[in-house]
Amino acid sequence: MTLSWMAWTWPTAIFFITIFALLIGMGVWEYAVPGGSPRVGILRFETTRGDRLFVSLLGSAFICLFWLGLVGPSLWWALALCLGYALCVFRWV
């Protein structure tokens, strides 16, 4: 059994390492400060910081898709936009 069929590449590996690091980081944060600081944001329902992370990640994915579909192949600007979006989500949602 080898892993060659999974066809790992460095960029995707870094992507997944980032995601897992985020998850572990959230776990540690939750362990240190339990409760997830729930609040009702502009979406009019209660969110915890885990929800906010999910909304930012999913939203970022859609931003990147729209960028690829409408603007062009260079994703660096899309990435910057995603970061801005994530900050907004963590601030207001």
Binding site: E30, T48, F54
Partner: protein, 292 residues
Amino acid sequence: MTATTYSGTANNLSRAGIRVATAGSGRRRLKRLVPVAYILFLLLPVYWLVSLSLKSNQEILSSFTLWPQNPTLTNFRVIFNDPAWYETYINSMTYVFLNMVISVTIALPAAYAFSRYRFLGDKHLFFWLLTNRMAPPAVFVLPFFQLYSAFGLIDTHIAVAIAHCLFNVPLAVWILEGFMSGVPKEIDETAYIDGYSFPRFFVKIFMPMIASGIGVAAFFCFMFSWVELLIARTLTVTAAKPIAAAMTRTSSATGLDYGVLAAAGVLTIIPGALVIWFVRNYIAKGFALGRV
């Protein structure tokens, strides 16, 4: 509060209600008609399948008859005499049963944890499990094939059983959690005070209390594993091929053997019908929890 005042008035005046009911009997007859018409609509295609399975191929192709003129069991005999057919039937049963056992067994403790405890990331974990119930099998077909090839599990029953766990385990956890939340927590605490260890309490006291929940969960696992074809077909070649895949072969390769095809279809309906009959009293309850 409102319910009690309503029922108080209602009891006093129930006789008036009976009088009103007789006036609306014509409308009631109309009301009966809707479910009857719907059931007829449901049964008509099934009837056609059964009737085709009882006809010979000449009768199907040469003349159009509403019911079999010379009912014959030849088509069924073909299936029961051909290992290529009846083995697929056994294959389907095997992996569905394996899947049912695996799903319910590992879902039980998890559902207990979700229904009794709060823990780090529990809500997100629950959501993540549910997304797998919603995930389109089409997305998983290709990587599943690669994954199970890498483990040398292609064309085994256990491969299909584990693959079907993808959507059945979350479902079983969801259903069982609903039933378990209905059992008061005091039961657990009393048992611990009485000196029961956790495994003994779980098997001896808790499981009998949620027996109907386990039944409903097993029923839905059976249902979704039994009806799924795309993944089952991708992961099997011959040794574990499901009956449903065998049917696609007949319809494409020979293209003519409608009688046998219909007979195979009838045979796939029977286990489902039997299972429904056994759990008929729990179906409504399972749906009432809204956890499908």
